[in-house]
Structure formats: structure tokens, C-alpha cells
């Protein structure tokens, strides 16, 4: 067994004075304090990557910097799916006995550390070096292609996708650490600048600086431990051109396996945390795992189903779309929020009811790498 015993999350936004190591340090310091542990009790380390600080040994670079001498350490890399993939790996490592308290950490000054053009060019390299990148694509364009086909298949509309952007902003307005907190309306999303139609500016997450960290332990060493009940992955392709189908993805199989491992059904789930790099990403993932019918994610959001006081509270911190997206730590914010909600530490954002089981799903590449997690409150 394994538990998420400590959580650290920095505000996301523009942090001019910060860099990769200082953001990782801030998050790790907060996670240690939250778990009630000191450095010497951390014997494992898994970190993500940083586009502003490429390094062949980021984990041990950080270990030295932060003051750790772990008996297990390395970095992990599967794009946007990295955060949850690290949690799955930490679970496996801790459960195996290779470490007792493992620090999972990521941070990046992706907004202030480089230009927007540089970020867009770096991320577009996830495309095929020979058959895609020479055509001048962007990540929004890859997802614009996905959106066009998915809308064609299932009748999802631009207004439906806008509903998800509005919901994420509404949730972010209650979180002081969120990058974008000014309320928006559906019309604002529809009238925002075209980026890669059907995707517009407000269908896209912002670029952020930020960091996040967790302590994964074999024993529930803190009073607010969440048990990791199920973990699963599915990797179907790398490139949008290489996907067999843009109407079905790996999320369904991945989440089904995680739920089977945890022994839970959809009716047991009381909180949802889903990757939302674009509104279309969120719509597809919610529909893939069956939280709503195909093409119905926008309507469900508009009806309040995914609101804080709705039947299935979703990304109550504002998600990537409004809390922000700083790379690997972006999706980790989803788990940080899941943790404080399930352990009833979310303050003014606390959802009513006392759900004990949450589902989380991350996606990397162009709907290519999927990681699903099931978490359960211990107390």
C-alpha cells in the first residue's frame, strides 16, 4: 500500500525571481511540512523535467541542491502525463520496499524563463520531426485537429467547450494561487482570439511559472493521508498523424483498469480531477471515462453537474485552464486540490458532502499518453 501524506503547491503565474530549482524547492519544502517529515526521512526522489532547465540528471541535481541523499532517484518524462505517471511510479516503488517516504517534485519557470514563441516551438517538437514539425504546427493545432474530428463525430459544439472554460474560471476565482481569476462568460470564450480553430485563446491553458510536490509513504504517517487505491496507464500513439482514430482514446481502458484495481464503480466517485490543457481535452476525457455521455460535457457543466456543489465536483482549483500550466507540475495541482478536498482542508473552496473516493486522469502528447489514478480518504 501507499499513501499521499504531504502536499506542496505554489501559486501559478508570473514569478520573475524564480527558476526551476527554486520552484521545486518551494513545493518540496511545503510538502515535507505538510507530511510532518524532515529531509532525513525522505529516502526516495522522483522528479519531472523542465524545458527551461534541460538536464540529464535533474533528480540528483535537485537532491544535492535540496539536501537529500535518497536510496532511489531519477526523473520521468511523458509530457503532460508525467505528474500522474510519477505518482503511479512512486506507489510502485514505495509498495516494493525500495523507499519508505518518496518525494515527487516538479517545477518550472515556463512563463518568465523563456519567450512564448520559444515555449510554443519547444512543445511543438512533440510532433514528428520529419513528417509534422516541418509543416509549422503548434500544440494548439494538433488539438485543433482533434477537436474538429471529435466535434464532427459526436456533435460537441464550440459553446459546449466554452462552458468548460467558464467553469474552470469560476473555480479558479476561489483560489488565491490561481493565475487567471477574473470571471468570464461563454460569449467571452467564443469571441476570444482564434488560435487554431475551433480552439480560441480561452480554450487554451495559459503558460505559467509554478511548482508542486508530494510525499508518497508506505505508512499513513500524516493525519491527512490519502491512500493510492488504483493506478493504470495506456499509451496508444505519439503523433496526431499516428493516432488510429480521433473519436476513441486510451483514457477509457486506462481508467477502467485503475477502477478495477481499486474495486470501485463510477457511483463510488465523489470528486474528479481531469487534465484540461484545452477545453477539448477536458471534454474528451470526461466523456471517455463515462462521467457524461459523448458530446454532453458542456451541457453537463452548464447544468452544474461539475460545479463545486454539483454531483461531481471537478478541478475545483480551476485546472490548467485557469489555475495555470507550468509543465509537469500543472497536472500535479489537480492532485493537490483533490488531496485538500478529500481531507477537508480546502477552506472556502471546500465542497459539500464528504466524498471518500476520487478519480484523476492525465494526458500527454496529443491524447497519446494516459494515466489514471484512484485515491481514497483514510480517516
Amino acid at each position: 500500500m501507499s499513501y499521499v501524506t504531504g502536499v506542496g503547491l505554489t501559486p501559478f503565474g508570473r514569478h520573475e525571481s524564480k527558476n526551476t530549482l527554486s520552484l521545486m524547492t518551494d513545493a518540496a519544502t511545503a510538502a515535507l511540512a505538510d507530511a510532518g517529515l524532515v529531509r532525513q526521512q525522505v529516502d526516495g526522489l522522483i522528479c519531472g523535467y523542465s524545458t527551461t532547465m534541460p538536464h540529464i540528471m535533474l533528480s540528483t541535481l535537485f537532491a544535492e541542491h535540496f539536501g537529500l541523499q535518497p536510496r532511489y532517484a531519477h526523473a520521468a518524462q511523458v509530457g503532460g502525463a508525467t505528474g500522474f505517471a510519477m505518482i503511479m511510479l512512486a506507489h510502485l516503488v514505495v509498495d516494493s520496499g525500495a523507499a519508505d517516504n518518496l518525494l515527487v517534485v516538479a517545477g518550472e519557470n515556463r512563463l518568465s524563463g523563456q519567450s512564448r514563441d520559444m515555449t510554443m516551438q519547444t512543445l511543438a517538437q512533440a510532433g514528428h520531426a520529419r513528417y509534422e514539425v516541418p509543416l509549422g504546427p503548434t500544440v494548439p493545432a494538433y488539438y485543433g485537429l482533434v477537436a474538429s474530428r471529435y466535434m464532427h463525430e459526436y456533435g460537441l459544439t464550440e459553446t459546449d467547450m466554452a462552458q468548460l472554460a467558464v467553469l474552470m474560471r469560476q473555480h479558479a476565482s476561489g483560489h488565491p494561487g490561481a493565475q487567471l481569476r477574473d470571471p468570464i462568460r461563454v460569449e467571452d470564450v467564443l469571441q476570444s482570439a482564434p488560435i487554431a480553430p475551433p480552439l480560441k485563446l480561452m480554450d487554451c491553458c495559459p503558460i505559467s511559472d509554478g511548482g508542486a510536490a508530494f510525499i508518497i509513504s508506505r505508512e499513513p504517517v500524516s493525519a491527512h493521508a490519502l491512500r493510492i487505491r488504483g493506478c493504470s496507464q495506456m499509451h496508444t500513439h505519439q503523433h496526431v498523424t499516428g493516432a488510429e482514430d480521433l473519436a476513441h482514446f486510451g483514457a477509457k481502458a486506462s481508467m477502467a483498469r485503475a477502477m478495477a484495481q481499486a474495486g470501485v464503480a463510477l457511483s463510488d466517485i465523489g470528486y474528479a480531477a481531469f487534465y484540461d490543457s484545452f477545453t477539448i481535452t477536458l471534454a474528451i476525457l470526461l466523456e471517455e471515462v463515462g462521467l457524461c455521455e459523448r458530446g454532453q460535457a458542456g451541457a453537463a457543466a452548464a447544468s452544474g453537474h461539475f460545479s463545486s456543489d454539483g454531483a461531481m465536483p471537478l478541478n475545483t482549483h480551476g485546472g490548467l485552464l485557469s489555475y495555470g500550466h507550468c509543465g509537469v507540475a500543472g497536472a500535479m495541482a489537480h492532485l493537490a486540490e483533490t488531496h485538500v478536498q478529500l481531507t477537508r482542508r480546502a477552506g472556502s473552496r471546500q465542497i459539500p458532502g464528504t466524498p471518500s473516493v476520487a478519480m484523476l486522469h492525465g494526458d500527454g502528447g496529443t491524447m497519446s499518453s494516459h494515466v489514471s489514478l484512484i485515491m481514497e480518504r483514510v480517516q
Binding site: 514563441d117 510554443m120 516551438q121 511543438a124 514528428h128 520529419r130 513528417y131 509534422e132 516541418p134 509543416l135 509549422g136 504546427p137 503548434t138 494548439p140 493545432a141 485543433g144 485537429l145 482533434v146 477537436a147 474538429s148 474530428r149 464532427h152 482570439a193 482564434p194 488560435i195 487554431a196 480553430p197 475551433p198 480552439l199 503523433h239 496526431v240 498523424t241 499516428g242 480521433l246
Partner: protein, 141 residues
């Protein structure tokens, strides 16, 4: 011994090297697996489904249907901003492969297209054109 009777040295293959549009040749090449029949756009010298090798390199006729469509309005670099917005499409070609290409403006999912070509400086770019207009384009040549 007559030199004319000697076979060609094995290194001097008469087959042309399989250059495609990325190398500046107006051609879309793909690999066809003789063992399982799979057609693969990203050439890699073996079949990714059954592992068979060698695979045949074939040339697509460039006729197909638009599978997905967007337009790059926010371009990634000064080079691309100079020509933005540009339509970008996934096209299912008749040989059973899907390719990423530019498109003429206004293409929609399901449109029948031919792959034509345009040049951006040194770069050769495959561009999907509606079947009717691309025929006209060829006649103008």
C-alpha cells in the same frame, strides 16, 4: 573474361533512393508490408504491426479525404508568422495512410482532395486542394 558479362556490383543498385517531400521531391512515399498488408506513412524499414522486413516503399497517388481540419492562426515563429494563417489538415489517402498537410482555405472534414505542392523558401509543403481546383491547377501548368 568479358567485363560486359559481369553482373553489376551489388552496391550499385539501379533503384533511386526513396526521397520524398521532406527531401524536396514532390512525392508522398509510404511503406507497404507484403506479409500483413499494413500501409505505414512514417517510414522505418520494418512493419510496426507484424515486424516483417523488408517492406516495399511505394508512392501515393495523393488522392484522399479530409479527416480533420484546423488553421494555424497563432504561428510558432517569425518564419511561420509571415504566412499565417495557414490551414492544416489530416488527409486519409486512398492507399490507407493518413498524412498531415497544409490545405487551401475552407477545406472541411469529408472533402475529397488531391495533394498539391507549394514552396516556402527552401521548403516543399504538401497542400490539400479540392479535387476540382487541383485539376485546374495542373491544367494551368
Amino acid at each position: 573474361m568479358s567485363t560486359a558479362a559481369n553482373p553489376q556490383p551489388s552496391g550499385a543498385s539501379p533503384e533511386p533512393a526513396p526521397f520524398d517531400w521532406v527531401d524536396g521531391q514532390e512525392a508522398i512515399l509510404y511503406e507497404h508490408c507484403g506479409a500483413c498488408g499494413k500501409a505505414t506513412y512514417f517510414r522505418r524499414g520494418f512493419c510496426p504491426r507484424c515486424g516483417a522486413t523488408p517492406v516495399a516503399v511505394r508512392r501515393s497517388a495523393g488522392q484522399g479525404t479530409v479527416y480533420a481540419a484546423t488553421t494555424v492562426v497563432r504561428a510558432p515563429s517569425p518564419e511561420w508568422k509571415a504566412i499565417a494563417p495557414y490551414a492544416m489538415v489530416l488527409v486519409d489517402l486512398q492507399e490507407g495512410i493518413r498524412i498531415l498537410a497544409h490545405g487551401v482555405p475552407g477545406l472541411a472534414i469529408g472533402d475529397a482532395v488531391n495533394i498539391g505542392w507549394h514552396r516556402l523558401g527552401e521548403r516543399l509543403i504538401p497542400r490539400a486542394e479540392p479535387v476540382a481546383s487541383s485539376t485546374q491547377g495542373q491544367q494551368k501548368k
